[in-house]
């Protein structure tokens, strides 16, 4: 039950993009087409779950026993960078179609603040192993959801008559604001 609450909270109520403002760059950059939004979301979710696992192990089995908590930031970011590189290599070797679908998005994920934010938040809230994994999965699902909804809206928006100075980033931000308002409706769920 508690795990379910963590999942719903990360995916809907405290959506990473729309209420924590994590991962705004890909949210604005990649949300042009629904197909690339889905790929980006899937790749991010995958890396998020892996990050949750690896960063939990690193923090609780290495950093805490040796009292190295102050190395949290550099070690997390290096682990994430190495992980993304590793995932890219494995996918390239194992499945070519998957690599073609996710390939170009993987390097972008290293600097996606949602990933590092996830690792930091999970250790800040001292989640146990299972909770961290569910938290990572929920955050990824929420990110994908926000990205896909946004891409759908932006595809329609291309046909709309937007004033010229507001084209591009400004109108995207305004739409995101309205979307964030809609997501506030989930606040009563937990």
């Amino acid at each position: 039950m508690e795990l379910l609450i963590i999942f719903i909270s990360a995916a809907l109520v405290n959506n990473f993009v729309l209420s924590y403002f994590l991962g705004i760059c890909p949210f604005i950059g990649v949300s042009n087409k629904t197909s690339s939004a889905i790929s980006m979301g899937m790749a991010t979710t995958f890396v998020m779950v892996l990050t949750a696992i690896v960063s939990w192990l690193l923090f609780n089995l290495v950093l805490v026993p040796y009292r190295l908590e102050f190395l949290q930031i550099p070690s997390f970011i290096l682990v994430i960078a190495a992980l993304v590189q590793f995932v890219e290599m494995v996918i390239k070797k194992v499945s070519q179609p998957l690599y073609r679908a996710l390939g170009i998005f993987l390097p972008l994920i290293t600097t996606n603040c949602a990933i590092l934010g996830l690792a930091l938040l999970a250790s800040m809230r001292s989640y146990d192993f299972m909770q961290s994994v569910i938290f990572g999965f929920g955050a990824g699902a929420g990110f994908t959801l926000a990205l896909v909804i946004m891409a759908g809206i932006r595809e329609e928006l291309d046909l709309a008559d937007v004033p010229k100075p507001f084209k591009g980033a400004p109108i995207t931000l305004i739409v995101a604001g309205i979307l964030a308002l809609a997501f506030m409706g989930f606040a009563g769920m937990i």
Partner: protein, 230 residues
């Protein structure tokens, strides 16, 4: 003399011409997240500027020894070092601010402004220029965060920097200090900034055309205008 002018340019271009928030659209996450009040915005921008200046300095000093293939990883380690310093100092000295900014201080590591300046500027220029460029970008970031934070604080909780400005009769718009307000305010600000820029450009263009006409120059083609930079 000429050199001094160009050095000054390295600083001033960051204020508006390549302003990180409005022109490069970088560092959106902290911009939106911490600008609930003006003071949070200022603290965030100062912390970011500190990291930006010192990592630019170090990266430009060691740029000749870093092999090209591992440069991004090396930059990230340098940046992470300074972020750790900021994080620990904030936790020790400014407990309240550190709590308010939450995970966004450690997240300066992945702020694209810093890696962007490292890759685009500090890896190609000498230390003095890199520091000036970093200071300029930091100042530009500070301006955007302060303006955005002030607007949200003013309408959302009637005050600026903690001092009440609007009378009690004004009902605060709660939405402004909620996440949705951040998106809406920044979107509108960017739109109006673009509008202002475009209007200024058109005015410059028209005045130049008038100037040419007065000088008796007949053929005013697109190329001529482009050469004059309008």
């Amino acid at each position: 003399m000429k050199k001094q002018v160009t050095l000054l340019r390295e600083f001033t271009k960051g204020l508006w011409e390549i302003n990180p928030t409005f022109k490069q659209i970088l560092g959106m996450c902290p911009t939106l997240a911490v600008t609930v009040s003006a003071i949070n915005g200022i603290a965030m921008a100062l912390a970011t500027t500190f990291v930006l200046v010192f990592s630019s300095l170090f990266i430009s000093l060691v740029r000749k020894w870093i092999p090209n293939q591992v440069r991004i990883a090396s930059y990230i380690v340098i940046i992470a070092t300074f972020v750790t310093i900021v994080d620990l100092v904030m936790k020790a000295q400014f407990v309240e601010l550190s709590k308010a900014l939450g995970p966004f201080i450690p997240l300066i590591v992945v702020n694209c402004i810093i890696l962007g300046r490292a890759e685009a500027f500090a890896s190609k220029n000498n230390a003095l220029r890199s520091v000036l460029d970093a200071l300029g970008n930091g100042a530009g970031f500070l301006i955007s965060l302060f303006v955005l934070g002030s607007i949200r604080e003013l309408i959302g909780s009637r005050s600026i920097l903690g001092y009440q400005v609007l009378p009690n009769g004004f009902e605060p718009w709660i939405i402004m200090i909620l996440p949705a307000g951040a998106f809406l305010t920044l979107g509108l600000m960017m739109g109006f900034a673009n509008m202002f820029i475009e209007r200024k450009k058109n005015l410059e263009r028209e005045s130049l055309i008038a100037q040419y006409k007065r000088a008796g120059r007949e053929e005013i083609t697109e190329e001529v205008l482009k050469e004059a930079g309008v």
